[in-house]
């Protein structure tokens, strides 16, 4: 069965979600990346979109203008979430955001933020930009357009947006960190195997 969350998301909604789960999202998501994080956290500017209980997407989309003040999503894919690591804990605390969507894992500070304020980080499988764009029903608003197309806050109404793989849950589990330990262990084993066969310099 598809697990679908709808914004605004409550603490209760996230209780039974665990790292490694696959979920989908209904409601709204706003694209929000490097400079928007910096403006809020470093320069203390208020985010022009209220994301309390909501979702943000670390992404820089391609949008097409269809009329005055009306835009269409052409292509949107996640960007590396780790770049937002130094801001995300404070971002969660200050905005009350519940679902953060991006690419790759995030670090311990974000995990702490997710546990303390009940939020999750998810990964949208990258390279699937057309699929993601078709899951955006409408761009309802655009803010901070002075930042240019990739960095503008695009407020999107979404329908079964996903699949989203949960990478950090509210219980402090971190899928990518767990995998990394496993991957490194296997790598060391494989190294020992391979070097037996590549002693070409004798």
């Amino acid at each position: 069965m598809k697990k679908v969350l709808t914004t605004p998301v409550s603490d209760e909604d996230l209780k039974d979600i665990h790292a490694g789960d696959v979920i989908y999202l209904n409601g709204h998501i706003v694209t929000c990346r490097d400079v928007a994080h910096r403006r809020l956290i470093e320069y203390g500017r208020e985010l022009p979109v209220d994301v309390k209980g909501g979702a943000i997407f670390h992404a820089g989309p391609i949008v097409r203008k269809v009329a005055d003040d009306k835009y269409e999503m052409v292509s949107v894919g996640p960007t590396t979430s780790m770049r937002m690591e130094k801001f995300e804990k404070d971002f969660i605390e200050q905005t009350g955001v519940k679902v953060i969507v991006g690419k790759g894992g995030m670090g311990q500070d974000t995990v702490d933020g997710c546990v303390e304020h009940k939020a999750i980080h998810c990964v949208f499988p990258a390279g699937n930009a057309v699929l993601a764009a078709t899951e955006v029903e409408e761009i309802e608003r655009a803010e901070w357009m002075d930042l240019g197309m990739p960095e503008t806050l695009w407020l999107c109404r979404i329908k079964e947006f996903g699949p989203l793989v949960v990478s950090i849950d509210t219980h402090g589990e971190n899928l990518f960190e767990k995998n990394k330990v496993l991957f490194n262990k296997r790598k060391d084993e494989q190294y020992e195997e391979i070097i037996k066969k590549v002693k070409f310099i004798k």
Partner: protein, 299 residues
């Protein structure tokens, strides 16, 4: 056709082909993804592959680039000395990129270094990158064209090892890149390894290794064996699609090599992502062409 028309025609063909392989993956990549998908057992990995296939169908149907990062365009050309438009080729490639940027449309991915502004055209100083190999006594042009995305370019690394460290150190060098940067480069990856004298010789070979058809083998028996060993080993790490973990990690490992200085081993690694957008097209002397990478391609 007069020469200007020929140039115009060929430029348009190059542009249309870039647009085409920016939404449709080459046959060998499609087949390999299918094979890797079938081998997965976990629902998360299976679903990730299903998502990829759905995205590729949508890209074709809606006529849009399949990944938003359409990369920097790179050309690897083997040009016959008797190819009729040999003098115009650089210009044709550059104009082709300009045209494709509007047609596809491609994302603007060319930032002038030091002056640090985006040209907005995908053409900049020494970009698109063009590499020529001269083929004596031939009247054909055989060219690989590639979209180098940011995510899959990031794991690239080159260094010079001491021979005492041997191919054991080459192995470690490649494996280390897989579990660090490779993880975020949208696996399953295609891994190119260059083994030569210096950083630039190894690096160029590691990129050219990515232009080879998946599953092709280095003609040297030992190098071919090492390709298979690395493939087996990296797959056993189990990065899975998108690094979520799974049964495999790579679409393949290709090694390209050159003789080395007795005192050095130059080694380099380059990666391609699951959305490995490369095309091969051969222009004949009458400027008709054959596309070898995509059997069903119609421009």
């Amino acid at each position: 056709m007069d020469k200007n028309d020929q140039i115009q025609n060929m430029t348009e063909t190059v542009a249309k082909f870039i647009k085409y392989f920016g939404k449709i993956l080459p046959d060998d990549v499609q087949a390999k993804l299918k094979e890797l998908s079938d081998a997965e057992t976990s629902p998360m990995a299976k679903l990730t592959y299903e998502t990829m296939f759905k995205n590729q169908e949508l890209a074709k149907e809606l006529d849009r680039p399949c990944c938003q990062d359409t990369g920097v365009i790179q050309f690897f050309a083997r040009v016959g000395t008797k190819f009729p438009l040999i003098d115009e080729l650089s210009k044709i490639f550059e104009e082709g990129v300009l045209l494709a940027t509007e047609m596809a449309p491609l994302r603007h991915n060319s930032v002038q270094t030091f002056d640090e502004y985006n040209t907005g055209t995908n053409v900049g100083y020494r970009t698109p990158s063009i590499d020529f190999e001269i083929v004596p006594n031939s009247d054909e042009l055989d060219v690989d064209i590639y979209m180098a995305g940011g995510g899959c370019t990031l794991p690239g690394k080159a260094m010079v090892l001491m021979p005492g460290a041997g191919y054991e150190a080459v192995t470690k060098f490649v494996l280390d890149q897989m579990t660090s940067y490779g993880l975020n480069a949208c696996p399953p990856l295609l891994v190119g390894v260059g083994v030569a004298t210096s950083v630039e010789t190894a690096a160029m070979l590691s990129k050219k290794a990515l232009m080879r058809k998946i599953g092709s083998r280095n003609p040297n028996e030992k190098a071919a064996m090492m390709e298979l060993e690395l493939e087996r080993g990296i797959n056993a790490i189990g990065l899975g699609p998108q690094g979520f973990s799974g049964e495999n990690s790579v679409m393949g490992v290709h090694i390209e090599n050159a003789a080395r200085h007795p005192s050095t081993i130059g080694v380099a690694v380059n990666t391609g992502c699951w959305s490995h957008r490369r095309g091969n097209i051969v222009f004949h002397s009458d400027l008709s062409y054959t596309i070898t990478s995509h059997k069903e391609a119609e421009l």
